[in-house]
C-alpha cells in the first residue's frame, strides 16, 4: 500500500542534504518548510532574492516589519551576520553561481532535468515568472521538492515537460512524497523510496522510465 510522506517529512529529507555552512535559497511554497526543520547543529545562510542574506525565522506576532519580508512577501527577521543589498546584487548571487543550493517547487520535471514551475496555461491567466528562472539556472545544485503526482493523480516526472519550461537541464535531484530521485545521464535514478512502496507502484505513477539504484534506501516517513 502506498503511504506517501507528509510535506514536513519530505522537507526533513531535503534538509538532510543541506550541509553546514551552505548558502540556500528556498522557493515559495513547499520549499519554505525546509527552513523549519534544519537542525540547530547546522549554520545555514538563507538568501532571499529581494535582497537579504542571513534571513532568520518569522518574527514574533506584533514584531513584523513590512520592509523586512522574504520573496513570498511574508515577514522575516535578520540573523547576526546578515546583510541587505539591492535587487541586482541579489541576482548576481543567484545567476553567478554563488548560491549553493536552490530548493524549488515544480509542476513538472523531465528526465533530462528540465523544470517547469512557472505557468501551466498561457491563455487565460496573465503569466508571472518572478525569480524562478534565475534560481533554476544559477544555483550550484538545484533541488526540486514536490508531490510525486498532481492532485488529480497525473504524473509530474515525465519524459518531456508539456508545460512551458522554466529552464532546461538544470535539476539535480527530486524529492517527492514517494521517492528521492537523481537526474543523471540515463534519466531518473531512484535512490530512496517511501516505506511499503513497490518499484512497480512507483513506476505506475511516473511517466518517465525509472532506473533504480543498486541500493535503494527506505525513506523515513517522519
Amino acid at each position: 500500500m502506498i503511504d506517501p510522506l507528509s510535506d514536513v517529512a519530505v522537507a526533513r529529507r531535503v534538509a538532510r542534504d543541506i550541509p553546514d555552512g551552505a548558502y540556500v535559497n528556498l522557493g515559495i511554497g513547499m520549499p519554505i518548510l525546509v527552513g523549519d526543520v534544519v537542525g540547530p547543529d547546522k549554520e545555514i545562510v538563507y538568501h532571499s532574492e529581494n535582497g537579504i542574506l542571513g534571513m532568520g525565522p518569522a518574527p514574533a506576532p506584533g514584531e513584523e516589519d513590512r520592509e523586512l519580508i522574504n520573496a513570498g512577501k511574508q515577514p522575516v527577521t535578520l540573523l547576526p551576520g546578515g546583510s541587505y543589498f539591492h535587487h541586482t546584487d541579489a541576482f548576481v548571487m543567484m545567476r553567478g553561481g554563488h548560491i549553493d543550493i536552490s530548493v524549488l517547487g515544480a509542476f513538472q520535471v523531465s528526465e533530462g532535468g528540465d523544470l517547469a514551475n512557472w505557468i501551466t496555461d498561457v491563455a487565460t491567466m496573465p503569466p508571472a515568472v518572478g525569480g524562478a528562472m534565475d534560481l533554476a539556472v544559477g544555483a550550484r545544485r538545484v533541488l526540486v521538492m514536490t508531490t510525486h503526482t498532481t492532485r488529480d493523480g497525473r504524473p509530474k516526472l515525465l519524459p518531456r515537460c508539456t508545460y512551458p519550461l522554466t529552464a532546461a537541464g538544470v535539476v539535480d535531484r527530486v524529492y517527492t512524497d514517494l521517492a528521492v530521485l537523481d537526474v543523471g545521464p540515463v534519466g531518473f535514478v531512484v535512490r530512496e523510496m517511501a516505506p511499503g512502496l513497490t518499484r512497480t507502484e512507483l513506476q505506475s505513477v511516473t511517466a518517465a522510465r525509472l532506473t533504480f539504484a543498486d541500493d535503494v534506501v527506505e525513506l523515513d516517513p517522519h
Binding site: 520592509e67 539591492h86 541586482t88 496573465p126 508571472a128 515568472v129 524562478a132 528562472m133 534565475d134 544559477g138
Partner: protein, 222 residues
C-alpha cells in the same frame, strides 16, 4: 549650491510627460514609493509604460494607475499576485500590454541602461517562452539570451534618508530595486522618510550617491 530637495509631492512629479517610461521601485509592499505614485496619479500623465516588479494590488499605487487607464504597457516580472485585480481585468480585456521579464533580467536590464552598456547575454530564460524572438548565442557550451538595456524617463524610488546632495540610504529589504532604478532613469525622483544634514550620512555606507538622484521629497513614515 546643490539642493535636490523639493517641497511637495506635486513638485516631485512635475513635468512627467504623457507616454513616459516610469520605473517604479518596490517588491510586494516593501519599498513601494506609494505617495509618489499617487502624486503621479494626481499629476495626470497618461499612456505610460510602467516598469515594476508587481502589477499592484487592491486599489492603491500601481493598481490605481492601471485602474485609471493610465498605463499602456507594464514591464514586469510578477504581475499576477494576490489582489492584482485591476491588472488582470484589463489584461483579459486586452486593454493593457504586458512585457514579462524574469526578475533578475529586469533588474540587470535597468542596470545596463544606467551603466551605459548596449546589452548583455544571460543564461536566464534560454530554452523558454521568454526567449522567443530573441537572439540566442551559445557561450561556454550553454545557451544565452541577448537582453537590451531598459532605461526609464523617470524613476520613482522610496528610500529612508537623504541629504541635500541626494545621497540615499534605504531601510532593510525596502532597498530592492531602488539603487538600480535610480541609475537607469533620466529623472530620478525619491521619497524619503527623513532629511539629514550634509555630512550626516556615513560616506562608507551611502547606497545611492547623489549623482543618480534629481529630486527628493520628504514623506512621513507610514
Amino acid at each position: 549650491m546643490i539642493d535636490k530637495r523639493v517641497a511637495s509631492l506635486a513638485d516631485a512629479v512635475a513635468g512627467i510627460s504623457d507616454g513616459a517610461t516610469v520605473l517604479v521601485g518596490g517588491f510586494g509592499d516593501s519599498g513601494v514609493p506609494v505617495e509618489l505614485v499617487h502624486a503621479l496619479l494626481d499629476q495626470g500623465a497618461r499612456d505610460l509604460t510602467v516598469v515594476t516588479n508587481n502589477a499592484g494590488a487592491g486599489e492603491g499605487d500601481v493598481a490605481a494607475l492601471i485602474r485609471e487607464r493610465r498605463v499602456r504597457t507594464i514591464v514586469c516580472s510578477y504581475p499576477r499576485s494576490m489582489g492584482s485585480i485591476w491588472f488582470e481585468e484589463l489584461w483579459r480585456a486586452g486593454e493593457i500590454g504586458l512585457e514579462l521579464v524574469p526578475q533578475g533580467t529586469l533588474s540587470e536590464r535597468m542596470r545596463a541602461a544606467g551603466a551605459g552598456l548596449g546589452g548583455f547575454f544571460t543564461p536566464t530564460g534560454a530554452d523558454t517562452l521568454l526567449a522567443e524572438g530573441k537572439e540566442v548565442r551559445t557561450i561556454g557550451g550553454r545557451p544565452h539570451v541577448f537582453e537590451h538595456p531598459l532605461p526609464g524617463d523617470v524613476a520613482l524610488v522610496k528610500a529612508h534618508r537623504a541629504d541635500r546632495w541626494g545621497n540615499l540610504v534605504y531601510r532593510k529589504a525596502a532597498r530592492n530595486y531602488g539603487p538600480t532604478m535610480a541609475t537607469a532613469a533620466t529623472l530620478t525622483v525619491v521619497q524619503v522618510e527623513e532629511f539629514v544634514e550634509l555630512g550626516d550620512l556615513d560616506p562608507e555606507a551611502v547606497v545611492t550617491p547623489g549623482i543618480f538622484v534629481d529630486r527628493v521629497v520628504q514623506v512621513a513614515a507610514s
